[in-house]
Amino acid sequence: MTIRGIRILPPLAIGRLGAAATPMDNYEVVKDQRKPLGYRHLRPAETFDVDISSGRILSTFTPSWVQFKDGPKVRPIAPFLEVWAVVSRDRMEPLTLDVLERSGLTPADLRWRVHVANHKVFRRTGDWHDKVEAFAPEPEPDLRLEVLRGKPKSIPRNKGSDPTFPTFSDHKVHQLLGRSPNFWAGRSIRLGSVQYIDPTKEFPQIRLRFTPAGGYVYGSSWEKPPPGRPDDPNLHEIVYRGRRGGWLGYTEPSSVEGVAKLTAPSTIYAGESIDGNATSKGYLDDECDGIVYAVLNSPSGPFPPAYARIGAGPPAYAPDSFPVRTVADELEQALLGTSVGIDQVSAESAEEIIRRAFETIRLMNTELMNGNPAVGGLAANNMVVQDNRDTGRASEPIMDPSLVNNSSLAHLHEAILASLLSGTAPWFTGVLRRYDQIGDLSDRGRRKMPAFMRGADGRYMTLTRRQIDLIEKVASRNLNGS
């Protein structure tokens, strides 16, 4: 077997923040066969026991139960990235000690470099000095500056072996320290860490583990911060130099050019109202995303580098439920298109979408999001208020207020879900919101499904075109499900 190239799988791994020392154990989310309308079950799954000091997997175990916290601290979700060897045009195999050995290589021939960033402040201020970037290993300062400036000419692309970027093949923990030119000297945000797992006979596969950060909030100050914990109880540490950058005290621009660059919706940062302007408190967080490169040297030269994307998001506080529209749905649509192949159309896949809608409702304060006056819905942060602010639409509840009691809505969706489980084809495609109806603020338009929620465009959420196509195709089969 000849190695013809390498790949990193999965090509995208999203970790979750957490400050506990031990990452989260594995678990599977399964449907309860005895209670089809009940909560999904979390079933403990086989988990690697990693010795941080040696970087080796010592054993595997299946925990007795799923535990999300160690004391008050959330356990981070720390994904593994596996290197696979391309052995033919249509076949890959896990890259293992054995495979390396047969090619005359050792684990040290596999080298890594990792580059992650948090551009949240840069997204608003537009100042490249506000980029927070972390590398493992750390490059020369000049190269780091070039990366921050975004000068593509001198940044080696797809050249992981380029000597200008250092790589590592040891098995130590490499901290991803996010630095920024606008930070106080010596201050950084820890964006997580990576560790090349030392392969052993028992666990011979080549892997890298990404452990996200603790989920802390960092702050800004006008003056040099004194040592110790900041006075603001929200803050873990003060890192940002207020007088150098524009983030502390930042307000959204009002110029035509500035407004065009606003996020939708705008002003969604921690701030306070000063002279009627939402003024930034200068908060930053330790989420990040970036790229992991792997390069395998060989006697005839390095293989083209493989890369994967990593990211870190907040913990899952409702792990037994899934949102009705997820990043996975977006990616699937981007990758496979807006139309579902007939061989992929199944009642189960449509049922899954409705189950997720049902689970989403279970987590919502539906009366508040509907704008029910009795619960302060006309002054809440919901679509009713958003419609009024953005377009001047009359501020009134979306549905009839009497219909949106949460348990009552859940009951209704249970009936829909149960019906789909019987093999009945979906009958509700007429009330699904289409992608070109997200700004329909008529009574009927606002009552389309999914209800109450804001999509990425700042207007009403819709299912992806691919999701709708799937439901329509299931619906267009005969009524009786055959």
């Binding site: 209670k35 089809p36 348990s407 249970e414 149960a418 009524l479």
Partner: protein, 512 residues
Amino acid sequence: MRFRVNRHLRHHFRAERDREIRDAPTAPRSLSPRRQPYPPEEFTWRDYCVFLLRIAAEIEHALMVQYLFAAYSIDGSKLPSRERHRVAAWRDIILGVAREEMGHLITVQNLLILLGSPVSLDREDYPWDSEFYPFTFHLRALSLESLATYICAESPPRWIGQVASAIRKRANAVNKGPANRVGELYALIGKVMNDPDRIRDADLQATTAPFQASWDEWGRGYRQFAQSTANGSRPNFVQAQMIIRRCSSRDEAVSALAEIGEQGEGLQAAASGTGEPGGSPEVAHFRRFLEIYRGLRGTSKPDLVALKIADNPRTEHFLDIARPVGRRKIHSAIGNFQAYSGANVITHPVSSPLAHLFNLRYRMLLVNLTHTLRTPGSDDPNQSTTVRGALINRTFGEMYNLRSIAGLLVRLPLEPGSRSKLMAGPPFEMPYGLQLPDFERDRWLLHRDLHLASLIAINRCRTALEGSKGIEIVVPALTYLRALENADRIALDEVGGGLTRSEAQSSVGAPA
């Protein structure tokens, strides 16, 4: 009960002819200081209007059920692929019409409430007919025959020509008598309602509006009915347009009646010159059915459009009916009963308990709907009246359950063994009564009993399914039953909440 209605109906048309003002005896002066049209025997005009609205409600209910049955029967999986989409569209059109009939039914309930009458969701089990009813109530799979009866029922008054004659002939043959127009009834109700000498302003109780159903509550994101416009566009008429009007005045009531007539027959669209009689297809039921009729005639294999479902499937053979279309004596251990020869009893050991479960959920739907219309909404924007909302959502939930169980029944055999190739189908048998208890607590006790009865019925179905052989739908049926059981147990907890609330009301001496 039918005889009680029929004795008034029998002389209706003759009496209506004779009831012209100039021929009528002078009305009692207490009715009005002016000279009055004379009301039918034993009635005042208000009471007569209530009587007619109750008939209208029964007709809408019956039409809705028959249209649903026809839609559930549509399959098309054995047709060439190029024809399947068209057949699927017919199914959606008929379901849309059934949905609109539900809108009519609810609007008629609103009119009853406006006149101070109890709501009326009753209908006679089949088979029976009368001069006023469009055709003999008969659950039939979709066919040219069933479509012909629907077309005649929804047809405009001056529908003539070769096509009309042929369809009428077919409808009359299957109906064993002429199929009447629904529009006649609405025209009469509109006439009575629009006449202040017959229905006085004081008869219309505007304060009942909070009890009436609204489009906001029942529209579900479907289109609100709008009169047809001749703008050249042809919207997708598959999607239902719901007419659900809250009425607090004579004008609103008459307008609602006109809209129902328009949706059935498309009279205004025809009159406005936008099309041939029957109006534009996106509006009139008549036109939609006619299009399907033509499409079905043009289908390569019309027999494969619908599943082979038994006509009038029932859980029992014994009937207590007013005017059986056919009858024969049935001798049983408990006496002699009249039996309807057109009914097909579901005797298959799996289909039978599922048919009972279907009937039970049908009853739950009707109880929820009745309870909703007896529970006021709130006019106060700062109050969220969730009991009424919960009842509405429960009603919709039962519609989905009926759809699911019907979907199973049309794939289950009518009888055991291979004697018959017929499938069972949903029986839509009416419960023994629809009277809602007077007190709120007792209403929730009824809900509780129905959920408990459902759990028992589910258990029977499950036992039958688990012991069955050669049934293709065992897996989805068992999965559904588990989900339904799950939902019933959750609902029982909710009903417990309703009982607690009503007990709190009772403790302060506030019966509903």
